[in-house]
Symmetry: C2
Subunit: 349 residues, 2 copies
């Protein structure tokens, strides 16, 4: 099956000294690479935080800044394309710090021979996504590499936004007693890309959930500033993202399996392919961790927004088992949910 | 010869509809692509300016923002590597608006199988370059693509800096009567990369000039705020950069051939290979356009700095022939210097 881990072609020693696909997966191997190399070499407090974007002070202005590169294959998939994805991903990383995203940059690496029609379609889609999200793409760069030295096109976006005073939102602020919410069904983006890439078809086409979350998050923060964590569960899915938060905050997280929303088609495809939706990437969903007292109000705001219709509570933050995530299964079991290991779905974003 | 334009392999019609190598060269083909597609799709005043970085207002804070992707081949070259280059390039683009560079992001696209030793060397070099330039790398991203889908590693950096009030620096502000200065010898970076890639050796190894220019530019601006244009002549070289400025400002630019500093080894290599140093990339040089009255003072400040020892005046801005650049040759001729056409040196940065 195409999504199974590829057989080892090198011996163990060589593999340990070269980059492996799963070091880009968002899972445990990537965390080790990032912590072991990048954070050490670039040593500064902002990177050490390991949040979706850095929070910076600049001449009295409170700024969030972030970057992501996009290498998704195929570049056009049901519900989106690499261009709109590159806008949504960076807008969302800014919104996850409570920032109002304002300005984006766009860096293109193009393979010689790339169809200009395809490039135009992607660039136009990117422009539309930026207008919808209310951000400006203010600077750009284009490099072309010879045929065979890249795969069609890669896009990097970086972004900055303004963070209102009084917010204190980050993966390190989850507290025992908090509730864990999700804004809708999980796994849609990853399964949409996978099905397109592998030519799998189901009764209904699975659409990516790729969308800008700054609108819905702005409304939630208008309702209450008392939100502890916002995080979009992209690579590595809900399971990996919650593991990161559990580690950052030094808390345990307990999920209830029957509460986790999964669309029927996504659930069916996952079951058929032996994948767990908890590990599948989302590009238009947000995990919210907040005090019990704000749950009902925030859920009601979320459900009033088109991107939060199926928002619900999926679990709780606890003091026990710090750094770990557990799932209470439908049949009453208690299962440890680890970070993603290996790379079931390369090039999902 | 490896640096000659490759023979056409497709018919004209196909070529017109696909991306060609010279659309990443920084020359005319890239300008047409950028103006025809990106600027139209992302329509906003900042992109229309076509400067090295965008000047933004944000909560009363005056910000410069820019991005560049780096695909240089080979990734390690005499005088630098893709990591330090990725820091210098973005720091310099910010400095070219008079900004004090503060924060960078770094996005890595890694090819499966990349040597971890090589990656570590590049990342450590990047960290050192950032410390030397006085900037922090505050956010990052890593993607891994399967073997053969990228070429070792590509790096994107984006950056922000603060622009002091009272500065008005940009490619659109050159005035007839202004002088044109350069901070040192030209063509070093491009020739260093080319010689390494093609295995050419000369008596002395040609070293890249890759360096952060924010220090020297800060001193120049402390001396006088009356600088009209700062621009680092990277891809496309001095010739293409001055053409851009001539177009942006609607002025003519006249250069004196004998005034243009070229290191002997670079001049020799260029002559042997049939290349013109005016079109070769620099990564640690700045072109300065400023009123006649400030020339001597600024030159003296530049020459006191290690990166400006060979600073000199190479020409003048004139009202005649707006949008064009001319060279008065050693033998008294008058030659039109166009933008770079074609791509003599792919993947130079």
């Amino acid at each position: 099956m195409p999504f199974e881990p590829r057989p080892a072609t090198d011996n163990e020693e060589t593999m340990a000294k070269t980059i492996q696909l799963d070091q880009g997966s968002g899972g445990r191997a990537m965390h080790e690479l990032v912590a072991g190399l990048f954070v050490r070499a670039f040593a500064n407090e902002h990177l050490l935080e390991l949040n979706d974007s850095a929070l910076l002070e600049m001449e009295g202005c409170r700024l969030a800044m972030t970057t992501d590169s996009y290498v998704v294959d195929p570049v056009i998939f049901p519900g989106g394309d690499i261009g709109s994805l590159a806008v949504h991903g960076t807008v969302n990383d800014l919104a996850m710090r409570g920032a109002r995203p304002l300005y984006l940059t766009a860096g293109f690496i193009l393979e010689e021979g790339l169809s200009l029609d395809l490039l135009e379609r992607v660039v136009v889609s990117m422009g539309e996504a930026a207008r919808t999200a209310g951000v400006l793409i203010v600077a750009g760069d284009t490099k072309v590499v010879p045929r065979g030295k890249a795969d069609q096109l890669f896009i990097n976006t970086a972004g900055v936004g303004v963070v209102p005073r009084g917010l204190r939102i980050g993966g390190q602020y989850a507290c025992p007693g908090d509730a864990v919410l999700v804004s809708g069904t999980i796994g849609d983006h990853g399964m949409a890309v996978l099905c397109k890439r592998e030519g799998l078809s189901f009764e209904n086409e699975i659409l990516s959930d790729s969308a800008p979350l700054n609108g819905i998050i702005g409304l939630m923060l208008d309702h209450t500033p008392h939100i502890h964590v916002l995080r979009d569960p992209t690579r590595g899915g809900v399971a990996t993202t919650l593991n990161e938060i559990a580690l950052q905050s030094g808390v345990g997280i307990q999920l209830r399996e029957e509460a986790i929303p999964v669309a029927d088609d996504v659930a069916g495809a996952c079951e058929m392919l032996g994948l767990d939706p908890l590990y599948i990437a989302n590009e238009g969903k947000v995990l919210v961790i907040l005090p019990e007292s704000s749950v009902e109000g925030v859920l009601s705001v979320m459900r009033d927004h088109p991107l939060g219709r199926k928002a619900c509570r999926i679990g709780s933050v606890v003091a026990e088992e710090p750094g770990r995530v557990f799932l209470r299964t439908r049949i009453g079991g208690h299962r440890l949910i680890d970070m993603l290991r290996g790379e079931p779905l390369p090039r999902i974003c």
